[in-house]
């Protein structure tokens, strides 16, 4: 017989063949906006690669884009809320709901304590400069929109900034 092969070699298949779905996503790194396909099997990501359908990247990716899989599927990811109490020397894991309540309370306390309705000259300003937010450049526009809406339009925070300023 010709050079024999093993059973595994005959049965070899790309792991994407048995994916439950391939979902179109966009690379989280630079602003070129490469389209990616996220392959899922059993509710787990099994592969992320370039989407050939995209006129931007036509299936290609750069090294960072090609590493997106490890950005998401990574044992070093934080998966619980970590809390550090004032003057504490360690992190504590806290329930998400507790943290959300606590953060909302802190925002309210700080806002109420520092809110300026009018300037010394009597101008209506309805602002606080004691709270600041930073971020958004790797986040969705929907998220950015809610930051601006909640913190500016809702809370009167003026220092709302992101990486675009840097």
């Amino acid at each position: 017989m010709a050079q024999p092969v093993s059973r595994e070699s005959i049965e070899k298949e790309p792991r994407t063949r048995r994916a439950d779905k391939a979902v179109a996503s966009v690379c989280p790194y630079c602003a070129v906006g490469c389209s990616q396909l996220v392959y899922v099997r059993d509710k787990r990501i099994i592969d992320i690669e370039g989407n050939p359908a995209s006129p931007i990247n036509e299936g290609t990716l750069c090294p960072k884009g090609a590493s997106t899989f490890q950005y998401v599927v990574n044992p070093n990811r934080v998966t619980t809320v970590r809390y550090r109490a004032p003057y504490s020397d360690h992190w504590e894991d806290r329930p998400l709901e507790w943290a959300m309540d606590r953060i909302a309370t802190l925002i309210k306390e700080t806002r109420d304590a520092t809110f300026v309705e009018r300037t010394a000259e009597g101008k209506l300003v309805n602002q606080t400069t004691a709270i600041a937010t930073l971020g958004g450049a790797t986040m969705d526009i929907e998220e950015n929109y809610l930051i601006k809406k909640l913190f500016s339009g809702g809370l009167g925070v003026v220092s709302i900034e992101n990486q675009a300023r840097i």
């Binding site: 979902v23 179109a24 996503s25 989280p28 630079c30 602003a31 906006g33 490469c34 389209s35 990501i45 359908a53 006129p55 931007i56 990716l61 750069c62 090294p63 998401v72 990811r77 934080v78 998966t79 619980t80 970590r82 550090r84 020397d89 959300m100 953060i103 909302a104 802190l106 925002i107 309210k108 700080t110 309705e117 101008k123 209506l124 300003v125 309805n126 400069t129 004691a130 600041a132 937010t133 971020g135 958004g136 450049a137 790797t138 986040m139 969705d140 929907e142 998220e143 950015n144 929109y145 500016s152 809702g154 809370l155 009167g156 003026v158 220092s159 900034e161 675009a164 300023r165 840097i166």
Partner: protein
């Protein structure tokens, strides 16, 4: 120029490389010989910080060699417009323009205005009037000769001339040239002016609004364009509406609109955008009687930019800080001061997938603080990564692309949308009973984003619907909540709501999320059915300029958008960025507002006069024409003007932010910061990744063999790089890709520092941003970190 595209946008660079193979010339002008230089046809070295001198030299070349695109410039730019008699050019005033107030360090730009109204100014079509823009321009750049470019920029004259020839030969009716830039330009104390200089050059060459032309901002983050549009910036409301500010006198909505309104051009619609925004935010409580809730929006009382806020934070004036996927403790200028600022907070919330330097500042910062001395209450909230949520990114071409959800994020990780929605919900509950007038904005904020039916496939059932948010961003009619098809439908009577007017049209009907379109269009390289480009799916802005004044394409090769006389409409490969039925020969009406003030051959619809601005009569705080200044820190004095540096750039004169004076012998070298392909910004998205970390595992300083020899440094030796702010240690990468520049016979050395490392991650290292000063460009408040001065010695810190 100002961009290292091959390294930082490798997939974008796919297209210039394809063009190169088809015969195009790639020119790379950069202080370092990078991967872009290596793959360009022509590499030209330039001293960091001297870009305006180089571009000014090109402008001068184009003018003096009569290489400008006459028909284009005459018809589409303000070359013929006559400027106010009060105007004094920097050329005649030691590098300062008229209107400078040394006391406040700012300009009053009244004298830069046109002679006549902004929308119908006086013109001299012969371009001979001494005060017409063309003549002012000529005079302003007359001294930017090739010899001067060589002297100031260190760029060899022959190479500079080669660039000028290639650029001019590749521009005109048949050909176009594009200029790409990135933070290599913006992170300078006159960044906006550098881009302006490119704009002038491209207008002169007829490269704006045409296929293959333009000035391409290569932005650095997946949706940094989106976060600029929406925006999460202090000085803007969504869609580039100015943020109400005390200094502008925006006391009432009416005053705000009057202050912001531009009579000519599309911005005349501003009231529609503002009222619709307020309607989107405050719903039925936004009524005409209460100025549509205008007063619930805070008024700015000064500079609240990131850099200024950091300074205030360091002084203990900021109590709470929410950080969404950012890393100021490492990625922001003067990172040491940033970390100190974090210690002054009462509380901080950091949202990220990984523990960043910012989240860990209280125990891991290089300052070695004792946690017991730091009061800040810190939350690290785990967030969702790509494929774990849905939503829209806006890429560097203004293209909105929706990404779908594939799986739930792990554990307690949630999307930022989840965090914001549920935080907002809680805050609204906390303020539910408040009768305080200034709490009513929050109480009335429309906040209905939970989906009607959560997707049963996923574990997380209280995830808000990104499409519901996008629907609000798109806009709808208030009466029936029908989505509107585009911003043309917006009204200023409160009958429409729209979150971000420039995005209007992205989601015109249920099931028609155009950002989620993923179709190719054979035969049309614009691919109009892939995603949605704002505004109104236009891929090239001002594309009316791709046709001549009569509406015919400048050339068959470069046809893009043209007037179809038969159909009485503009048509082409792209959505025409022009009123569809407005014929080329439509004269401008002498009165009225908006587009009526423009003729059928005024392509620049957002400008008051419909023209491309060679000379900027308004809108800039540091001059109507780009002018060469030295960086705030420079080893050289300004060769062109007595004025050394930008007269209006903001320096933070604080004891913890010393800035070297010009020619400081203690800090004789230029230092510039940058990124490499293998890592990403401050590293929080790449240094936890073994595949990337192994490719660029350690911090290094790139120096020339000449500097290495001077200092006795061998490749991979440890070196200490210092500025008056701080000092760091890293390994030296000695390479001929870095070169010293010769100035008046002296060697001016440059040091290159990537800024990817920090103290958390699989690989760690010194932070280049520790060396950077707090400073601000006056228009956009960006720090200068592309050209600073430093010292360097062999050895280690201790």
């Amino acid at each position: 120029m100002g961009s290292n595209m091959a390294e930082n946008h490798p997939v974008g660079y796919r297209w210039p490389m394809k063009a190169r193979e088809k015969g195009a010339t790639i020119i790379h002008v950069d202080p370092r010989f990078t991967r872009t230089s290596a793959t360009a046809n022509l590499y030209v070295p330039i001293r960091s910080g001297s870009d305006i001198a180089f571009l000014g030299g090109l402008i001068n070349y184009v003018l003096t060699h009569d290489q400008w695109f006459k028909e284009y410039v005459l018809a589409y730019t303000n070359a013929s417009t006559i400027v106010s008699g009060d105007y004094v050019d920097a050329e005649d005033n030691g590098g300062l323009f008229s209107g400078y107030d040394p006391q406040s360090g700012s300009y009053d730009n009244a004298s830069w205005s046109y002679a006549g109204p902004p929308h119908g100014p006086a013109r001299d079509e012969t371009l001979q009037h001494p005060r017409c823009v063309f003549q002012i321009l000529k005079r302003h750049y007359a001294r930017y000769t090739p010899e001067m470019v060589e002297r100031v920029c260190g760029s060899p004259k022959e190479l500079f001339l080669q660039v000028a020839e290639v650029l001019t030969k590749n521009s005109g009716r048949e050909r176009t040239s594009a200029i790409c830039y990135a933070v290599g330009w913006t992170q300078q104390s006159y960044g906006a002016q550098i881009i302006r200089a490119a704009g002038i050059l491209q207008l002169l060459l007829g490269n704006i609004g045409r296929p293959g032309g333009g000035i391409m901002a290569l932005r650095g983050h997946a949706s940094i364009q989106g976060s600029t549009d929406v925006p999460t910036l202090f000085d803007l409301l969504p869609g580039y509406l100015p943020h109400p500010a005390v200094i502008r006198g925006d006391d009432t909505l009416e005053q705000y609109m009057r202050e912001s309104l531009v009579r000519g051009g599309y911005w005349s619609n501003l009231p529609k955008f503002v009222v619709s925004l307020l309607r989107a935010w405050y719903g039925d409580e936004a009524r005409k009687e209460n100025e549509y809730g205008y007063q619930w929006i805070p008024k700015l009382t000064g500079d609240h930019s990131h850099v200024s806020t950091s300074a205030a934070m360091a002084d203990g004036k900021v109590k709470g800080f929410v950080v969404f996927g950012q890393n100021p403790a490492n990625g922001s200028p003067h990172a040491g001061l940033q970390r100190k600022a974090l210690t002054q907070l009462d509380w901080m919330v950091a949202l990220d997938l990984y523990e960043t330097e910012t989240a860990a500042f209280w125990y891991a910062a290089p300052e070695g603080w004792k946690p017991a001395d730091i009061k800040t209450e810190v939350f690290l909230v785990p967030t969702a990564g790509p494929g774990e949520k849905e939503g829209t990114f806006t890429n560097t071409q203004r293209l909105l692309q929706y990404h779908d959800k594939a799986v739930d994020p792990p554990g307690d990780a949630r999307s930022d949308l989840w965090f914001l929605y549920h935080l907002g919900r809680r805050l609204k509950e906390l303020y539910l009973e408040s009768a305080n007038p200034h709490d009513q904005g929050l109480r009335n904020l429309t906040w209905d984003y939970l989906p009607e039916r959560p997707d049963p496939e996923y574990r997380i059932q209280d995830e808000p619907s990104a499409e519901k948010v996008l629907m609000e961003v798109n806009g709808y009619t208030v009466a029936d909540h029908e989505r509107i098809p585009g911003f043309e439908r917006l009204k200023d009577d409160g009958s429409t709501a729209c979150g971000v007017w420039i995005y209007s049209g992205v989601f015109p009907a249920p099931g028609q999320n155009l950002a989620r379109r993923r179709n190719r269009t054979p035969g049309n390289y614009v691919d109009p059915e892939w995603g949605f480009a704002w505004p109104g799916n236009r891929r090239i802005l001002y594309n009316r300029a791709s046709a001549d004044p009569a509406g015919k394409p400048w050339s068959e090769r470069k046809k893009y958008v043209w007037w179809d006389a038969g159909a009485g409409s503009w048509t082409g490969l792209d959505v025409p960025d022009f009123p569809l039925g407005k014929a080329p020969d439509t004269p401008a009406k002498g009165q009225g507002t908006g587009m009526d003030l423009h003729s059928g051959s005024d392509p620049f619809t957002l400008k008051a006069d419909g023209r491309g601005w060679l000379f900027a009569p308004s809108g800039l705080k540091d001059g109507p024409l780009p002018t060469h200044y030295e960086p705030l820190e420079s080893p050289l004095s300004n060769d062109l003007y007595p004025r050394q540096d930008s007269p209006v750039a903001k320096r933070f004169r604080r004891t913890d932010n010393p800035i070297s004076p010009p020619g400081d012998p203690q800090y004789p070298y230029i230092v510039t910061t940058y990124r490499v392909t293998e890592q990403y910004t401050s590293g929080s998205m790449s240094r936890w990744n073994s595949w990337l970390s192994e490719l660029m595992p350690e911090m290094f300083a790139e120096i020339s063999p000449e500097l290495a020899a001077e200092k006795g440094i061998e490749n991979l030796d440890w070196v200490v790089v210092s500025t008056p702010r701080n000092q760091i240690e890293c390994k030296a990468l000695v390479t001929r890709r870095v070169r010293p520049f010769r100035h008046n016979g002296n060697l001016i050395h440059e040091v290159g520092l990537p800024y990817h490392w920090g103290y958390k991650g699989l690989v760690t290292g010194a932070m280049a941003n520790d060396l950077v000063a707090l400073s601000e460009e006056p228009n956009v408040y960006i720090q200068e970190d592309k050209a600073l001065t430093c010292n360097l010695r062999k050895g280690r810190l201790r």
